[in-house]
Symmetry: C2
Subunit: 226 residues, 2 copies
DNA sequence: AAATCATGGATTGTTGACAATAATGTGTAT
DNA sequence: ATACACATTATTGTCAACAATCCATGATTT
């Protein structure tokens, strides 16, 4: 996701984005140790800006650093992933409630359009988990932004989602219940359109709770190692 | 709060901590622009580690940086502070629920002891807002940790609380209803001791909601400028 | 043979100088 | 007198070399 607007874009920012997507996409595996010089060669920059980027990534919880021993990609256990979903549940519930109170009619119309596009995507790309995950991300992204709660959106989009997506790419977890999820999305949007904040919050919490249970079940059944 | 254990403590870590407390304590005012060289002189280090620390602070939302234009301390509007409390409400509600499910009996006993100590502190330091704020922080800190939800505790303790405390020191907001707050704390702890997660969550949410309304009222009445 | 200690190598942390960019002040033209 | 353009200056962004710390390998001792 390269920002088109910002030309004053430092090398550190560049490294930050590249590393972030590399971690999320899975080019860097969890637990993998990454040497600084290696990364410098990869991104064509020196260790100064790189270390700045590493510090930011560490602060966001995507990297863990041990002094004088280097950094490695964070590795999230099943339990921790479940906890992540519990946090999402309450935070996105709040986001949905505030979105119902504050989204403009235009944004809501866009949200409906997004849902339609997701529907066709699901039908066309039968079983293509990637598109499902992207559609799902798009939906939640819009609601987080629509909450008009700057800090909330920042925490969801800049912190939690990267971590969740990191494992979505690996597990393709969204799959299994794409139509189900789409139906739940629709009902949430309808609640938002009716400006029913309480209902939107309730439905969103239930939606994320269902997603969590779905993943938990799959991991237990299929022995999906993360 | 200097960590006693960690001897392998880089200069960047040191600068990070110093800057963080400086911002929270109010030595650096919100909106204040801070030059890098100035900070280097202040902390006796060079710009490399300093920039690393600045990046981490920026990532945590305590600083805002504009490329080639320097960093300045974040300045939170009244509305944003209220939004912060809304986030706290749902997150600490979750923390209380999980704490009720997972805290050890020893931790709960410590929590009771903490409350008693707060009570004497409130009686002794009549009107000393600082101690009230510290006691309040201690309580919420213990519950966040007791949730056994690593990421949740990290987000609360490493993100939100610093921001809230930043304005607590300025406003001394905890004041005005110390006995009230202590009573609410007691009821929350009782719910936790009875392992009633739902009740603990409900009471915690109501507690933080009341604190938010209290601040909002004070700002509107007294024209408290933040 | 297993465990401990020491040494070498590699990697991280730090430093100070260099280059690029934005803010400021001055001068000129309208 | 005000507004715009330019040059200067100060600050940020980047680089490459230096110092400190840890990890691994191998020798030594029990």
């Amino acid at each position: 996701m390269p920002e088109v607007i910002s030309q004053p874009y430092t090398r550190a920012d560049e490294a930050f984005d590249c590393l972030q997507t590399a971690i999320v996409k899975g080019d860097l595996s969890p637990g993998e140790k990454i040497g600084e010089v290696e990364l410098c060669a990869r991104f064509n920059l020196t260790r100064g800006p790189l270390r700045e980027a590493l510090g930011r990534l560490e602060s966001r919880g995507l990297l863990v650093r041990r002094p004088h021993a280097g950094v490695k990609v964070v590795s999230v256990s099943t339990e921790e992933l479940m906890e992540l979903y519990r946090i999402r549940e309450v935070m996105e519930g709040l986001a949905a409630r505030q979105a119902a109170e504050r989204m403009t009619d235009t944004e809501i119309a866009d949200l409906y359009a997004t849902l339609d596009s997701h529907e066709t995507m699901i039908e066309q790309a039968q079983g293509q988990a990637y598109y499902q995950a992207e559609g799902d991300y798009d939906f939640h992204h819009r609601i987080a932004t629509g909450s008009r709660n700057t800090k909330l959106a920042q925490m969801l989009l800049g912190d939690l989602y990267y971590m969740v997506r990191m494992y979505r790419y690996r597990l393709s977890t969204a799959s299994g219940r794409p139509h189900m999820a789409l139906g739940e999305h629709r009902r949430i949007v309808e609640a938002i359109a009716q400006r029913d904040g309480e209902l939107a919050e309730f439905l969103m919490k239930r939606h994320i709770n269902a997603a969590r249970q779905n993943i938990e079940k799959k991991i237990k059944e299929g022995g999906l190692t993360i």
